[in-house]
């Protein structure tokens, strides 16, 4: 199996090199046989990488500790599911997963485009295989997952216990799917640039891919947050850690891209800009992979450069140069097809959106690399952490939130001044009411009040959007209101799916602001039978107990939760002492409600005195709910069209456009 894996991995390298060269040649010579050959190489590369991955899985599941990677990330005692996920527990496995998924995506792209996009395909395949070549070179020569040990250990070291939970089963692949999904729009963009077929066909072809990748990025980031919240025991879900930032930046740029392509598709404006954005999104995805490369554990504990660093830098630099060269070369053909109406048009508002997303991305990037810069210049190690990022991103995030509400109103403004005023009035009133409610429940500081009001305002604009649309539709076709909402949303999935996503965003803001401004935290040292109070809760410490299983010893503290004098619940906060790991692990007790989470950490014990670190985190669950709605909104946009087949899509867009103008 080891040899099989090694040979397959080398085969993948040869195939991707072949696909890259022959694809480019096929495009240059406009030769169908050459192009087909490159496409077949892409399909074969997928097949051979499946074989490679199956080999690694087999080795992991059969405890073959002669393989260094297996010995490092697996043990014979681990449950099978974690042996399976140990595949991406470390550097070489994560990179193999990257290669596998990229080849899978390329395979689908090739099959989908057997008879479409013939001008783009040879170059797109060539670019995809070029990316794959990079990863297979790393895997073959620098971090081979099939390297063997001369001395076979009796047992492996095992996956870090922190990673042995359900979130870590899904989080890395989800994030990777997001990262890798960006490669397809990038490859087709390159296809457009290199072939000179610069219309919007590359955007249309990869629209679904951009969305899928965005949905996975969103989902992956959320899972990472949940994991941090439940496993790391510091009461928060986001620490502005370099790796978190590395996943957030491609998300920001992808989001900007999803918005900007709409202007290009509909109005033919900003064509160069999309190429720059897709390049940026791709580069940031590679950068994100690079930072997370050695498995997720480095994400929370260290940020050291591995021997792969220089290779990633060279790859990033060369793809950037290559793309910029093509953009400059084609720039005379990339002029805007139409003119913008004014600063108050929807196009302009999308530009503002892009401006804010990229500004936040830049701020995050700057904060992430600043410690390195500062150390070079001043020789002093400094920290750029939560206080910095929160302060810098907050005003930008507020502006973005408000813009989310203002944009649809700008579109509506086309109706008439009177209408416009009315459309603006209700949402503003809703914002004001939200602010007043916040004051009534005891919010007294300015920033959260402004954010809450903005949330109310934006939510109202979204509701209003659905309401007005459904009413208008009812006048055309008399149906029930809800049917009208459904029909309306299905008729323009992109528009209304987008609003659903925005509604999710509002809830996420709501939760983030509440939980960061109104968190209560306190430490208590108590003896058995003592009670302590935090927020509305009274907790009674009932005692410690100890148990052990083959993997670990567990110390459990039991507490009764009382509210208004009555017992409402019982919680268990634990510390796990894994035999394989020196650091004890905190198993937090979280008692989630829609209003607030009671979060109890067992901090330590000494001679009968037990200490707890307790948090009351308000509205955290709304963050997860909001992200859930964002993901659902994204999936809604992707729903297959029941009516118009592919050929009619462009006309449907035109009709929509005409409707927009007429509205």
């Amino acid at each position: 199996m080891i040899e099989l894996g090694q040979y397959c991995l080398f085969g993948a390298l040869l195939l991707s090199a072949y696909g890259m060269v022959i694809g480019a040649l096929g495009g240059w010579r406009k030769s169908l046989p050459l192009t087909r050959s490159a496409e077949n190489a892409a399909i074969a590369a997928f097949g051979i990488l499946v074989a490679t991955s199956v080999s690694l899985w087999y080795l992991l599941l059969t405890d073959q500790f002669v393989v260094e990677y297996v010995a490092q990330y697996s043990t014979s005692k681990m449950p099978a599911v974690y042996k399976f996920t140990a595949f991406w527990g470390g550097q070489s496995g994560s990179l193999l997963l990257w290669a596998l998924v990229l080849s899978f995506f390329s395979f689908i792209a090739v099959v989908q485009n057997r008879h479409r996009n013939r001008e783009l395909m040879p170059y797109a395949v060539s670019v995809l295989m070029g990316i794959l070549l990079f990863f297979t070179v790393l895997l073959n020569f620098l971090t081979n997952p099939f390297n063997t040990l001369t001395q076979v250990p009796v047992d492996g070291q095992g996956l870090n216990p922190l990673l042995q939970n359900a979130y870590m089963v899904i989080h890395p692949p989800a994030l990777y799917l997001g990262y890798i999904g960006v490669s397809l729009p990038f490859a087709f963009a390159m296809g457009a640039l290199m072939s000179g077929k610069l219309d919007t066909s590359w955007i249309r072809t990869t629209r679904q891919w951009s969305l899928i990748s965005w949905v996975f990025l969103t989902f992956g980031i959320a899972l990472g947050g949940m994991w941090a919240y439940e496993e790391l025991g510091w009461g928060g879900y986001w620490a502005w850690d370099p790796v978190e930032n590395a996943s957030f930046m491609p998300w920001l740029v992808s989001t900007a891209f999803l918005h900007s392509v709409m202007i290009t598709e509909k109005k033919g404006m900003l064509r160069t800009w999309n190429f720059i954005l897709v390049l940026l999104a791709f580069q940031l995805s590679i950068f994100g992979t690079f930072i997370t490369r050695s498995g997720v554990i480095s994400s929370v504990h260290s940020f050291a450069l591995s021997n792969l660093g220089p290779f990633f830098v060279v790859f990033l630099a060369s793809t950037a140069l290559f793309t910029v060269f093509w953009i400059v070369y084609r720039s005379p053909q990339l002029k805007s097809e139409q003119r913008m109406k004014s600063f108050l048009s929807r196009e302009a508002s999308f530009l503002l959106n892009n401006w804010l997303f990229l500004s936040i991305c830049f701020a995050v990037f700057w904060g992430t690399v600043f410690p390195i810069l500062s150390e070079w210049v001043t020789g002093e190690k400094i920290t750029v952490s939560v206080p910095f990022f929160n302060n810098v991103s907050m005003p930008l995030a507020l502006a973005l939130l408000i813009l989310t509400g203002v944009c649809p109103l700008i579109a509506w403004r086309k109706a008439s001044a009177k209408n416009f005023r009315r459309n603006f009035l209700y949402p503003l009133a809703a914002g004001l009411v939200t602010g007043l409610i916040a004051v009534a429940v005891g919010v007294r500081s300015l920033i959260p009040l402004v954010f809450f009001s903005a949330c109310g305002f934006v939510m109202a604009t979204i509701v209003f959007e659905f309401y007005k649309g459904a009413r208008a539709r009812q006048t055309i076709r008399p149906t029930g209101f809800l049917t009208a909402v459904k029909d309306l949303s299905l008729m323009n999935k992109r528009r209304y799916g987008g609003f659903i996503i925005h509604a999710g965003v509002v809830l996420v803001f709501f939760g983030i602001i509440a939980s960061s401004f109104f968190r209560i935290e306190e430490e208590f040292s108590v003896r058995q039978g003592d009670f302590f109070k935090i927020g509305d809760y009274t907790l009674v410490f009932k005692g410690l107990s100890e148990r052990s299983d083959p993997e670990k010893n567990v110390v459990t503290a039991k507490l009764d939760v009382l509210k208004n004098g009555a017992k409402i619940d019982e919680v268990l906060a634990e510390k796990h002492f894994h035999h394989k790991s020196e650091q004890p692990m905190t198993e937090v007790s979280i008692r989630p409600t829609l209003k607030e989470d009671l979060y109890v950490v067992l901090a330590g014990w000494d001679k009968g005195v037990v200490s707890f670190h307790v948090f009351v985190n308000p509205l955290v669950q709304w963050i997860w709910i909001g992200i859930g709605i964002m993901v659902l909104g994204g999936l809604f946009v992707m729903l297959p069209n029941s009516k118009p087949p592919a050929a009619h899509v462009s006309r449907a867009v035109d009709e929509e456009e005409a409707k927009d103008v007429a509205a």
Partner: protein, 156 residues
Amino acid sequence: MSRPKSVLALLMLCLSTVGWAAEAPTEKERVSKLTNNLVCTCGCANIIVASCDCGQAADMRKEVATFVKEGKTDALIFAAFEKKYGPKVLGAPKLEGFNVLAWVLPFVGLAVGAVVVVAVVRKLRPKGAETEAVEAMPPELDEKYRKLLEEEMRED
């Protein structure tokens, strides 16, 4: 844009005048603020002192509480921590020397972006080069665009 902005400004003004708690922060609030701006140096991923799960953070929290009880100012406490644990303990770069750049550049980026956006909109707006664009549009749309344009000009 001016109308929505002014209404928003008004909204914020309304909110800001609603009964404000202007009392001095309690000791607890000060400890919370300080520990939220210090970073634990235990080797975890720059988790702030207020929430880090390790023993060192617990000790640091106690230190802060003691300082606050003694009546030391925020600046003094930060300085004491920096001296004891090194500059890494501060959660954000100080506003001095090279580190000012950390704070300034994001907003420079924002400003540069604003200039670019304005330039792009200016460039894409129909002024002299309008004819070419109008020709590219189908005639029935053209009429509607023109009406909209006129309407907007009037309102502004």
